[in-house]
């Protein structure tokens, strides 16, 4: 089915999330929408799926104008969408989720899931999905949940499938499998709109790439375009994708974590006897698929997560059992994974946010009073030093963009003398330009001799920054490997394959068949040219 968007605009108040967008997706085409977070990709797709009403413009399917008052209309017209946050009822079975809204019934409205189960098995067999119709969705791994979402669209005869950031939650291997599925769907005549900001995937699978920036279509390019070219289009200026950091010169062991374990209130072991050491002047990156214990690990070190066992020693001093405040005082700089909830008080001014953990110490505080002059001076310095884009330090932090908010958090945490720096997802939802800046700051802190721990679910970021990489899987360290370990080995380890086996498998597959990176139009520039 051919899809055309003509002059679509969507305004929220006076703010235009989409402005005059033209887009044509041909039959059986994989069309990628490339853009940074907040560029308006999701808004556009929500308009297409009937969740939002466009302020202006027209949607045409096979040349005929259509109007959708809700997702039901869009589905009836043959449009299916896999949302970034899955739209599945966690406590339902796969069959119940897929039947929902399009149930087959016996007399008197009694559910007949037999028909649905049969359809699921058909589609599952055709694409090799291996999905059990009677499994409870919340017990399934995210990759399988995503397939359930795809089946949901296919059962409803979707001819156009929208995939909104589908790879954000997947391991590299799962991502490769998804790209294969997309190619199969295309071969069967389904058009796909693929939303992403990850250049590697986009180039591997797309037929056409349309770049969106600040709600407007910038350009449509072919997947042959180089990653640098794509990144420049996406950001709107020349960006340096390569950090080219110097080799680390590790000093003495600084942070020693031994057998650290955390059990959550439901009795599940979320962190299981984790041990590692970070040396001075070294970046240890913790890789892993989201939800494998990363949050618990960082929070256990910070002291906000009760620990069931183990020890955390910073420069020989035990941190477990101490209060959060005294742990921070002993020289920990901490960037939490969710800046707007845990990193900032968004209603407070930028100035105040820059001293959130320093307000009671000189020069900012003395006794019960605060030195407002010193706070103002500090804000001025930090805003300049970190290039925070704002016209007034008294504006609330919520007025800043994601990247600038993160700069405020990072500026605050790096403004103290640190003995350890921990950053969780330091560049999640941050524009490419700021990513580069923040990465350089992290490396600069390392070069000052501070031990640094980076937790990231973005493999590109891990590979960019790490001197050594620890892979977390189901709450355990599944091996610590050198920073230049290949993407494939890391991906296998993130999926739970042991270190030795991962290296062996990677070696084997290199000899046997080409990995996905080397798919269409590869100039083998992937190693140096990855954004995010």
């Amino acid at each position: 089915m051919k899809l055309e968007l003509r002059g679509i605009s969507k305004a929220f108040g006076s703010f235009y999330a989409n402005k005059d967008i033209d887009l044509t997706v041909d039959d059986a085409q994989i069309h990628c929408l490339l853009g940074e977070n907040g560029a308006g990709k999701s808004t556009l797709m929500n308009v297409l799926y009937g969740l939002y009403q466009p302020t202006e413009g027209q949607i045409l399917l096979d040349g005929k104008p259509v109007e959708f008052s809700g997702p039901g209309d869009a589905m009836a017209a043959g449009i299916g969408m896999v949302h970034q946050h899955f739209m599945l009822v966690p406590v339902f079975t796969v069959a119940e989720n897929i039947a929902l809204g399009a149930e087959t019934t016996k007399a008197g409205g009694v559910l007949d899931l037999q028909v649905t189960r049969k359809k699921i098995r058909e589609i599952s067999d055709r694409y090799g999905f291996d999905v059990d119709p009677d499994a409870i969705v919340e017990d399934l791994p995210v990759g399988v949940q995503q397939r359930v979402e795809i089946i949901k669209a296919l059962v409803r005869d979707a001819r156009i499938l929208i995939l909104d950031e589908p790879t954000a939650v997947l391991t590299p291997q799962e991502t490769d499998e998804l790209l294969d599925i997309m190619r199969q769907l295309k071969a069967n005549g389904t058009s796909i709109v693929f939303i992403s900001h990850k250049l590697r995937e986009v180039r591997a699978v797309s037929d056409v790439i349309t770049v969106i920036r600040r709600g407007e279509v910038i350009d449509s390019v072919s997947p042959q375009a180089s990653t640098t070219e794509l990144a420049n289009l996406m950001v709107g200026r020349a960006v340096e994708l390569n950090l080219n950091k110097a080799a680390a010169t590790p000093g003495a062991a600084a942070l020693e974590v031994r057998d650290l374990s955390v059990v959550d209130p439901a009795g599940t072991t979320t962190l299981d006897s984790v041990s590692f050491t970070i040396h001075e002047g070294e970046i240890l990156a913790v890789a892993g698929v989201q939800g494998n214990g990363q949050t618990e690990l960082t929070e256990a070190i910070l002291g906000t997560q009760p620990v069931t066992g183990g020890s955390v020693k910073l420069a020989g001093e035990e941190l477990v059992g101490k209060s959060v405040k005294s742990i921070l005082r002993s020289g920990l700089g901490f960037v939490p994974e969710d800046r707007s909830v845990h990193g900032l008080v968004t209603q407070f001014s930028i100035e105040e946010n820059l001293v959130l953990d320093l307000y009671d110490r000189p020069p900012f505080g003395k006794g019960i009073s605060m030195n407002l002059e010193a706070i103002k001076k500090n804000a001025k310095e930090q805003i300049e030093g970190f290039d925070v884009r704002t016209d007034n330090p008294l504006n609330p932090a919520s007025s800043l963009s994601g990247g600038n908010q993160q700069k405020v958090v990072m500026a605050r945490e790096l403004s103290r003398d640190l003995k350890l720096f921990i950053a969780s997802q330091p560049t999640r939802g941050v524009d490419v330009g700021s990513i580069e800046f923040l990465h350089r700051r992290i490396v600069a802190e390392r070069d000052k001799g501070t031990p640094v721990m980076i937790v990231s679910t973005e493999l590109d970021e891990v590979m960019e920054l790490a001197d050594r990489i620890a892979v977390l899987y189901k709450g355990r360290i599944n091996g610590i490997v050198p920073g230049d370990t290949s993407r494939e080995v890391l991906g296998l380890m993130m999926a739970g394959v042991s270190q030795e086996e991962a290296f062996a498998q990677a070696e084997y597959s290199k000899a046997d068949n080409e990995p996905v990176e080397a798919q269409p139009a590869s100039e083998h520039d992937n190693q140096e040219g990855e954004a995010q």
């Binding site: 009822v89 966690p90 039947a99 559910l111």
Partner: protein, 423 residues
């Protein structure tokens, strides 16, 4: 690709809660009921008037029985500690056995120490079911609206509104069935207010519910003094619903009076429990309702009208609770009095949680509360060593323990209490 799975290295012991509770009740049974108990025997009759055949009377000597029960309970408690040490939880049926032993032991103890050493088990159970009727309807109302994602604190108001309307309509028309229908409508009206404010105007659901309870209590109280008491003959002498006995079946001892000798509302209760259960878990309607209560946005992206489902479910819940309220004035009591529902709407709310948002679970929970309520009445009549004020607390104590401790973690619909607003 083979993924090696990692097993967690440390074992987490299950909570100490169950073994502690079991130990406490074992000790109470053994010492307080057993060693310090009464030598007299407790008599339990199983027959009631009109039974087809006689069952022998159950005679249990007070002290000996409880010492035996106490030893059994101590054994179960010890076993439960051992199980915990091995990282296992106690089997549910053993907890049930312990609960039954404790309740029986308690009964033997009070009855053997009472002025009259005999009670009728048959009427204890049958009476419990009767007292549970409004609770069951109330909890079904709660299940219906919470499963769709709207917290229904207004059950009390719905019951009270139903009771009042049933009384006045049945009095004026001299037709009990007209009263029954009117009660359903009154419950629906209360619910409509809840639905309108919580769904359309996105007012906090708890606050609307609480306000509604106070409002209904105020209005019925006012109309009771100004209208009903002016002319009780005309406005407050409702015709009662007949008790329908099913021939032969109703003569079976113990279960006959419970299942086959009920008012119309009593039979409706069994029907309603089945219908709500069947509807929620076996039909298309139920699937959609549960989806709306768990993940409204997912339902919305599939073209399901979230707020419309919520609206009609809350209203349906109101009808059910209203009918339950009519039980007070059309079956149980001769006429309407102020606050006739006496907080049972809140106990029904507890039954919803105890029953884990499942109509059958809520039904059983309501039966338990009804039984505790009736036990309290009967024990006061036979004159027990325990002061009657303490006995009057029994249903509420059972409620608190049931909701707080014994159910374990009970998980309600994920989106209950959260309004759904489209961006």
């Amino acid at each position: 690709m083979t993924a090696t799975t990692l097993q967690p290295a440390i074992n987490v012991l299950p909570s100490k809660k169950t073994p502690i509770i079991l130990t406490v009740i074992a000790v109470i049974t053994f010492f307080s009921f057993g060693l310090l108990g009464n030598d007299q025997a407790a008599h339990f009759t199983l027959n009631s008037a009109g039974d087809a055949f006689e069952l022998p009377e159950l005679v249990l000597p007070g002290r000996i029985t409880n010492i035996v029960f106490g030893v059994l309970l101590l054994a179960i408690a010890a076993y439960s500690w051992m199980q915990r040490k091995q990282g296992k939880a106690l089997a549910t049926w053993m907890i049930a056995v312990a609960a039954i032993l404790f309740v029986l032991g308690f009964l033997v103890w009070v009855v053997s120490g009472a002025n009259i050493n005999s009670i009728s088990l048959a009427s204890l159970l049958a009476g419990g079911v009767v007292l549970a009727v409004p609770l069951v309807f109330g909890s079904l109302s709660g299940v219906l609206s919470e499963r769709a994602g709207v917290v229904n604190i207004a059950i009390e108001g719905q019951l009270l509104g139903g009771a009042f309307t049933a009384a006045i309509v049945a009095s004026v028309t001299q037709n009990a069935f007209a009263g029954l229908i009117a009660a359903g409508l009154a419950g629906a009206v209360v619910s409509l207010v809840l639905a309108l404010f919580s769904i359309k105007y996105v007012v906090n659901q708890i606050i609307v519910g609480v306000v509604l309870n106070v409002l209904v209590s105020g209005i019925t109280g006012f109309l009771f003094t100004t209208v009903m008491q002016e002319d009780p003959e005309l406005f407050n002498s409702p015709v009662h619903l007949p008790v329908v006995e099913i021939p032969l079946l109703s003569a079976i001892p113990v279960i006959g009076p419970i299942l086959f000798k009920q008012s119309v509302i009593g039979y409706l209760m069994y029907l309603a429990v089945f219908l709500v259960w069947f509807g929620l878990f076996k039909t298309k309607w139920g699937l959609r309702v549960r989806a709306v209560g768990e993940h409204p946005k997912a339902a919305d992206t599939l073209g399901i009208k979230v707020n419309s489902i919520r609206f009609w479910n809350v209203t349906l819940g109101g009808i059910v609770a209203g009918i339950g309220g009519s039980f007070f004035t059309l079956v149980a009591i001769d006429s309407f009095t102020k606050e006739i529902s006496g907080g049972r709407g809140f106990i029904a709310l507890a039954a919803v949680i105890f029953g884990r948002w499942n109509p059958i679970g809520a039904f059983l929970a309501a039966l338990l509360f009804g039984f505790a309520d009736n036990l309290q009445v009967i024990l006061t009549i036979i004159g027990t060593p325990v002061p009657s004020q303490f006995m009057a607390m029994l249903p509420y104590l059972v409620t608190i323990f049931a909701v707080a401790g014994l159910v374990g973690r009970s998980r309600g619909p994920a989106a209950a209490g959260e309004p759904y607003v489209k961006e």
